[in-house]
Symmetry: C2
């Protein structure tokens, strides 16, 4: 449960090649050639870098014990040798989202049947193919509320595309006011992902 800081630096160095940077909602980010991931809170934008995005791990905000148990049984670790594709997706939600009460936000993660699959159910469907680490930036005063880092094998790219499409079609996503999709890849087997 130790809090862990991560810094994602877009620039000229790093283990991951940046293949694309796409503004999904709101303002884009620059598209430098490489992504470096530091397991610490880098204090300031390194010289020559295009952007620095920071976040911290935190406690679970919405998952129930039953969901956590199911997730723990199937979620893969980061750093699998075959997972040479990655994605960093920074998002921010609107003031309307943050003004919702806890029970109002939870229904997007814990919708009882026969509701449409919720965020948690959709994510579960793509396990164990897609590894994922959620980081929080809002309480730090960072420009994005969340950074989510994903890793998967090239053959699971269509599944990852589908995961994103399904999440973006949810009612929850109507509260997303900024989202950028950064796709990356690497050649080597050794990963320095979070």
């Amino acid at each position: 449960m130790n809090r862990q800081s991560y810094s994602f630096i877009g620039g000229d160095s790093g283990d991951w090649r940046i293949d694309s940077v796409r503004p999904v909602t709101g303002t884009a980010l620059a598209c430098p050639p490489r992504l470096a991931i530091e397991h610490s809170q880098v204090a300031a934008l390194p010289v020559g870098a295009a952007w620095l995005l920071r976040g911290v791990t935190s406690n679970q905000r919405y998952t129930s014990r039953a969901q956590q148990t199911k997730l723990a049984a199937v979620q893969p670790p980061l750093g699998r040798p075959e997972a040479t594709c990655g994605a960093l997706i920074p998002i921010s939600k609107s003031d309307a989202w943050w003004s919702l009460a806890q029970d109002e936000r939870e229904r997007f993660f814990n919708a009882p049947p026969p509701a449409a699959p919720d965020h948690t159910a959709i994510g579960m469907h793509y396990l164990p193919a897609i590894a994922r680490q959620l980081l929080h930036g809002r309480d730090l005063g960072e420009p994005f509320d969340f950074l989510t880092w994903f890793e998967f094998a090239p053959s699971d790219t269509p599944a990852f595309d589908e995961l994103l499409a399904r999440l973006r079609a949810t009612e929850e996503w109507s509260y997303v006011e900024r989202e950028v999709e950064i796709r990356v890849s690497r050649d080597e087997k050794r990963s320095t992902s979070p």
Copy 2:
């Protein structure tokens, strides 16, 4: 819903006189003469100060819409002229707490009858006498997970003492591994509280 940083500085200056600093659980803090409250994130311990405690406002983590509506109808603002007593209570909870799932933590704030009154119900009982502002420090890497600031009139001191005693008797408090109770007061009518 704007995130707001607060810094509490124990030292030789500030609008509040520090009357006592009591370690309730775990290590104490020093007891300097005055408490200053800055509405910003002070970067480093000012020269001559004994301690600097920082936190940020954030979204509600446990209160339901029904509870928020009830609270909004009765909770008093900070800075009431008659509220010349204050208390700053920094606490940290254990790894066992932070490892609980959301539904497991929520039951301490939303216990259905005939359970004993939960955290929310106990707090509600002392409104509108006791004004309160919760600040978060855990995701910032601060030494305390939470800082709670209270303001009340001298005549409501017995009610405040009872509020603390009742909260500390809850099962939730078995997860508190550090708590310090800082009691303050001021003479003037004008407040610089959060």
